[in-house]
């Protein structure tokens, strides 16, 4: 049995240790905000926090999460940080098909937590592991830039 913390709650699972964290989250815990775009760690649609670090959940076997703190998009929906990102993405027009967006929000939050006042180049670097095919990224970069300003002090 593997025990871990998921969005603040202690959980456990009997799933095989080789199960991908992505599948555990989606199938067993019905957390659909973590999306599968490639299954190979290339697109970032399945980004989650593992012990506060941004990770591709498709690359993580659950055997390695014993005792870890996992946070998905669902775990941050009620936070002020999410609210600011939500508004900024709306104002900047950063959302089109939406499939990359929960992962992009996680990457945005991770970036701003590490670097609350990123330059545009640092924003590009920060989301370079998250693919978006709709927007050409510029409006997402703007969204993160806005979020940094609006949320000054909270990151």
């Amino acid at each position: 049995m593997i025990k871990f913390t998921l969005n603040g709650k202690t959980e456990e699972t009997n799933a095989p240790a080789t199960t991908r964290l992505l599948d555990l989250l989606r199938d067993d815990f019905e957390l659909i905000g973590t999306k599968e775009g490639c299954g190979e760690g290339e697109c970032g649609a399945c980004s989650v926090f593992v012990n506060n670090l941004l990770q591709n959940s498709c690359l993580i076997p659950i055997g390695s999460i014993a005792g870890a703190e996992i946070q998905t998009i669902e775990g941050i929906l009620e936070t002020k940080k999410f609210k600011i990102l939500d508004e900024s993405y709306s104002d900047a027009g950063g959302v089109q098909c939406g499939y990359c967006i929960p992962g992009m929000i996680m990457a945005s939050a991770a970036l701003l937590s590490k670097n609350p006042h990123p330059s545009k180049a640092e924003i590009r670097e920060g989301i370079s592991g998250n693919l978006c095919r709709c927007t050409g990224y510029n409006m997402i970069v703007d969204a993160i830039n806005q979020a940094a300003k609006k949320g000054d002090g909270i990151w």
């Binding site: 989606r26 659909i32 905000g33 973590t34 999306k35 599968e36 775009g37 490639c38 299954g39 190979e40 290339e42 697109c43 649609a45 998009i73 669902e74 929906l77 990102l85 939500d86 993405y89 709306s90 027009g93 959302v95 089109q96 098909c97 939406g98 499939y99 990359c100 967006i101 929960p102 929000i105 924003i123 590009r124 670097e125 989301i127 370079s128 592991g129 998250n130 693919l131 978006c132 095919r133 709709c134 927007t135 050409g136 990224y137 510029n138 409006m139 997402i140 970069v141």
Partner: protein, 720 residues
């Protein structure tokens, strides 16, 4: 929120569901009694199936194949050449042969490995070049058209010409890489199969199902799920998947889910057609064009699918935005034993524009005239004939758009700066490239009138909420928002009081597919008219419904046989400037600045339009230098996203864009199409900029680092 100016941006209808990740896409859906499907696919490019040996299937696991199809075994698209499950012959690697269904995907994948399909291999055609050589063999030409001035006239002009320039130009595959892989679910009920999934064209799917299941109209139902990007990749391909899951659901009496992983999606789904374009141009002494003949070959892959229509658009755009004195064109779709190619944003136009912009750029060098200046000499004007003997009826603002960009980008100054930079730098070279382009809005020719016959419906409830009943898909382009805005504004209703639920064929009429830059212009106009009608009849406190049907704008009738007439009711226009730097040591290209001026009639939402510009340009630019897909012995070589290389946030640079107002009488609030246009100018502008930087010419896209290094070696060799 009341809408003052239609272009002013509003919050998108689907924003909250998407930003929170709680809007369910098809792979997020689970229904009772649901099983998964996996497809047994051909590993052979061309051959005859000798035997299929299945492993012992555990209880609850079943195989579904051609014999389970109640109707004829083909996916109804245009021609009847694409089997749902291969019958006797396989025509490409990846062609579905049968489906295994069962509860556990892992078990299904291991069963899949144990299926033994013996195929007698036959000589396949693997490449477009091979197909061109074997063009006269039976069945290789899947479609062809020829039009323009007679070859006799052209050849007489060539006789008197100063010189004839011939160029051969190649374009590669392009993969959609919608972030959400293809997925389809058939929900089994005793009296109905309901198909849900990621899709652009509900009624294409419904018609394919009616044929495959040989059933009554009320026995199938198609519901769009939130769709994670389409770009044309979810135009015709989902029809096949829908047939697979629906046939399987019927056979096993359970709901069946089919979701591709990324590598399956990359290997078996449709792509942009690789193309070869041949140009033959007669010039006078000073380099003026006397005549131009174009020949286009599209690699159709193993089935014709929509390729004939893609070829039509490629041909109609084969002279670009130019008025050429004597023009002749012909084109072919050729069959190869490779994955069928299909719809992709631009639909044949990106190949043609890359080719013609490249060719005119090269001719300008012969004439010793600055490329943009040379191109402007031939720019079409309002009232000019099109190459298919139609007319450019509406005002054309391209000249203004060019002038504006010349100023905004400080073009002349930049050119001089780059020249100095290049003289001082051995390793890094900078260049500027431009492209001029258009996109015909709506279906080609009389397609809207004869084939689509769109109908829209508005339903008003007692409490004054108005719902859009149309069959169009929001796949990220924002029509849930833009179309609601049009209706809300027309009815003077708050935007929040107009709703557009995900369409379901049970309750929406056929307003046509979500393709061809038609949704805003054609469906939007119908909705505008419906809203006007509803406004005139508006009664408080009662349920009301209004319906509107497509009305054709009278033009020069389109004749597909002679390839003459007005190909499109209207055109949208664009100009791109690209500044970049080439590292001559590595061949890497770094974009520095990208500009775009566009004219799409009237913008329905500024922010959404900007999203189309940025996203379309990112795809179009990458088509020119970054994204490379190849097929070897019939096998797609790039099975993962990073093998293929779509742009990341580090590849794209800020894009400075402007949209010019030029309202179109038959579009809602004057709007025309915008979605495809934005992709088209990227690749030709990138090519021109690389050529400008390196003082060389290319006859192909993508211009990858390998291509650049090879060309530098060649140049070095020539210069000794």
């Amino acid at each position: 929120m009341s809408l003052k100016d239609i272009s002013t941006s509003v919050p998108k209808k689907d924003h909250s569901g998407k930003v929170s990740g709680q809007l369910p896409y098809i792979s997020d859906v689970k229904v009772e009694n649901m099983v998964y499907g996996v497809l047994v696919r051909s590993q052979v490019a061309y051959g005859k199936i000798i035997s299929i040996q299945l492993p012992n299937l555990p209880e609850g696991y079943e195989a579904v194949g051609a014999e389970d199809i109640p109707g004829p075994n083909f996916v109804k698209i245009i021609k009847e050449d694409q089997p749902i499950f291969a019958n006797e012959w396989v025509n490409y690697i990846g062609e579905p042969i049968l489906m295994l269904v069962g509860k556990d995907l892992n078990i299904l994948y291991s069963l899949l490995k144990e299926v033994k399909v013996i195929i007698e291999e036959h000589q396949a055609i693997y490449t477009l070049d091979e197909a061109i050589k074997q063009k006269s063999a039976a069945g290789v030409i899947m479609a062809s058209y020829e039009f323009g001035e007679s070859l006799e006239t052209v050849s007489a002009i060539e006789q008197g010409a100063h010189q004839i320039i011939e160029e051969e130009y190649d374009t590669g595959y392009q993969e959609h890489v919608y972030l959400e892989p293809q997925g389809m679910l058939a929900i089994y009920k005793d009296d109905e199969i309901e198909v849900q999934g990621s899709m652009q064209c509900l009624y294409y799917i419904k018609n394919a199902l009616l044929s495959a299941l040989a059933c009554g109209d009320d026995e199938v139902r198609v519901v769009q799920s939130p769709t994670g990007g389409g770009f044309g990749g979810k135009e015709e391909f989902p029809s096949m998947m829908a047939c697979h899951v629906a046939v399987a659901a019927r056979a096993v009496k359970k709901s069946v889910m089919l979701v591709f992983d990324r590598s399956e999606d990359m290997v078996v789904t449709t792509k942009r057609h690789p193309a070869k374009l041949n140009y033959r141009t007669a010039l006078d002494k000073v380099g003026n064009i006397l005549s131009l003949s174009v020949e286009i070959f599209l690699d159709g892959g193993a089935n014709v699918g929509l390729s004939s229509v893609v070829l039509q658009r490629a041909l109609i755009n084969s002279a670009g935005v130019y008025k050429i004195p004597h023009f002749h064109a012909k084109g072919y779709v050729l069959k190869t034993n490779t994955v069928p190619n299909g719809a992709f944003r631009g639909f044949g136009a990106p190949q043609s524009f890359a080719g013609i912009e490249s060719h005119l750029g090269h001719l300008s060098k012969l004439a010793n005239i600055e490329p943009l200046e040379y191109k402007r000499k031939y720019l079409v004007k309002q009232g000019d004939p099109t190459i298919t003997k139609g007319i450019f009826r509406d005002p054309i603002l391209v000249e203004d758009m060019i002038e504006d960009l010349l100023k905004t980008s400080e073009y002349k100054k930049k050119k001089q700066e780059f020249q100095r930079f290049n003289q001082q730098n051995l390793r890094y070279k900078k260049g500027i490239g431009t492209s001029l382009f258009l996109h015909g809005c709506g279906f080609t020719g009389s397609g809207e009138r004869d084939h689509i016959k769109a109908t829209v419906k508005l339903v008003k409830s007692k409490d004054g909420i108005v719902m859009l009943k149309i069959s169009n898909s929001d796949m990220g382009q924002g029509i849930l928002t833009t179309l609601c805005k049009i209706v809300a504004k027309e009815l003077d209703l708050p935007y929040e009081d107009v709703l557009y639920p995900y369409p379901d064929t049970k309750v929406v009429p056929d307003s046509g597919p979500t393709v061809a830059s038609r949704t805003t212009m054609i469906v939007g106009k119908l909705l505008e008219r419906a809203a006007k009608k509803l406004k005139a009849q508006w009664q408080s406190g009662v349920d009301q419904e209004v319906v509107e049907h497509y009305v054709h704008r009278e033009m020069i009738p389109w004749d597909e046989k002679t390839f003459t007439g007005d190909a499109y009711p209207a055109y949208s226009w664009g100009v791109n400037f690209v500044e970049l730097e080439v590292d001559t040591l590595t061949g890497n290209v770094k974009l520095e600045k990208v500009y775009g001026n566009y004219e799409v009639g009237k913008v329905i939402d500024d922010r959404i339009m900007k999203g189309q510009i940025d996203g379309g340009l990112a795809q179009g630019l990458a088509y020119g230098y970054l994204e490379k897909m190849t097929s070897k012995q019939g096998k797609i070589q790039q099975k993962s996203i990073s093998d293929y290389g779509p742009p990341t946030s580090l590849d794209v640079v800020p894009i400075e864009s402007k949209v010019f107002d030029n309202p179109y009488a038959d579009g809602p609030y004057g709007a025309k199409g915008a979605g495809e246009l934005t992709l088209i100018g990227g690749a030709p502008a990138v090519q021109a900029a690389i050529e400008d930087a390196l003082h060389t010419t290319f006859q192909q896209i993508p211009i990858t680092p390998e291509v650049i290094i090879e060309s530098l070696w060649m140049k070095e060799g020539e210069e000794g």
